[in-house]
Amino acid sequence: MAHALEPQAKTLSEAGSASLYGKLTELDPRVRILAVCLFAVVTVALQTLSTLVAAFSVSLCLLILSGLPKRRTLKHMAMMDGFIIFMLVLMPFSMPGDAMFTVFGFPASWQGLWKAIEIALTANTVILALMVLVGTMEPVTLGHALHRLRCPEVLVHLLMFTIRYIEVLREEYLRLRGAMKIRGFRPGTNWHTYRSFGYLVGMMLVRAIERSERILSAMKCRGFSGRLFLLQDYALTRRDRLFAVSMCALCAGLLILDHL
């Protein structure tokens, strides 16, 4: 997780700041969410390598259209690959098939290699499209759009609370870490470190619960009755429809190509 963040980087307050530029970010958030869901399902359903490459290039085109900083977004995407690289490297050895070469007597199969490439392509295609289409939203907009898409209300509330307090609690965490550092705490592989981190987590939770009690009384004082009123309304424009139709056409095209 934290590989993604430099120590001083903000967690979610910077997310969605890209909405200042780019054409895709002006589209209706509901359309973007639905489009990426459709695209993800279609991509996962693809069987052949050539269509997967085509799907990946669709994601790349979306990235270019979005006007996001390309290098940074691709770096983010590649970070996920770090997690799955072990599984992918093992694939050629664990899947039976025609031998490609042998390492220490273990044959590596072509079938396994292709399968590993397929998984890597699928995973990257979906995550890139998700980051470009939905990750560029203000986190709060995501909540509003999900609400309009008839997600359960309580789940949307939970999402909104989480989004709101991640940054607050992260600052609290950094403050506590600062206090530890100034007292000479240096993490290492020892009991003292684990105990200190345990206390740190415990303290964060105690403070979080106390904070939530204050939030609840503040909300009740303002007449909170279990509903948040989300006033934002969305209307589809011609451009949204155009985007939706072209995404559907692209997905249909990919599926047809796949079956040829």
């Binding site: 799955i84 995973a123 979906v126 990750g135 939970l158 609840l216």
Partner: protein
């Protein structure tokens, strides 16, 4: 321990999504008006806690703390952890979209299970006793999560079995660390805010 899109077979993905919907529905039912802020703030703190890197030998691991989340939230841990996974996928690009369901089940179901098995015990006896049960709960949740990840990989195809075994054994040190940290976190909470575990425990 995120599984990515495209790795799992369709039945596993669909089964995971259905199970996640069920778990989230159970969790949402347990969230009444008074508990929404607490669940939201705790969900945010577990998100932040997962950013903490704990050194282990020459490397480091990041915390998951799903056991602790379960012990504090009960069924509500399901939607809370789901929200965390959703935000991670959307804004940081970890995990995937179609596998959100199965990932949520793999992480949140052990959390709920830990609460069912050990939830009562952490509030009883001396703080140290509670902390020990908390530690056992923390280790249990990670063990169950890795086992579920391994099972979902193994169900998707025989070629994943070596990877599944690797996942399980690679996480044994993580289990130990999570156990120790969960234990100390509970110990501190028991000492600083004992009433947290007296009134129904689940925040």
């Amino acid at each position: 321990m995120h599984i990515v899109d495209g790795a799992l077979s369709n039945p596993v993905v669909i089964g995971g999504a259905l199970a996640a919907v069920g778990g989230i529905a159970m969790g949402l039912k347990s969230l009444d008006l008074d508990r929404i802020p607490a669940a939201g703030v705790l969900s945010a703190s577990f998100f932040v806690a997962s950013l903490i890197h704990v050194p282990i030998g020459p490397s480091s691991v990041h915390l998951i703390l799903n056991g602790l989340a379960g012990l504090l939230l009960g069924w509500a841990a399901f939607p809370a952890l789901f929200v965390g996974l959703l935000l991670q996928a959307v804004f940081f690009g970890f995990g995937g979209l179609t596998v959100l369901g199965i990932n949520a089940v793999n992480i949140a179901f052990p959390a709920v299970l830990a609460w069912m098995l050990f939830g009562r015990l952490i509030g009883r006896g001396s703080p140290v006793q509670g902390a020990i049960w908390g530690g056992i709960g923390g280790a249990f949740a990670i063990a169950a999560t890795t086992a579920l990840v391994a099972v979902s990989l193994a169900l998707s195809g025989k070629e994943f079995i070596p990877a599944a075994k690797l996942v399980f054994f690679a996480h044994i040190p993580v289990m130990v660390i999570e156990a120790v940290l969960t234990g100390f976190a509970i110990l501190l909470a028991r000492k600083v805010k004992p009433e947290l575990f007296l009134k129904g425990r689940a925040a």
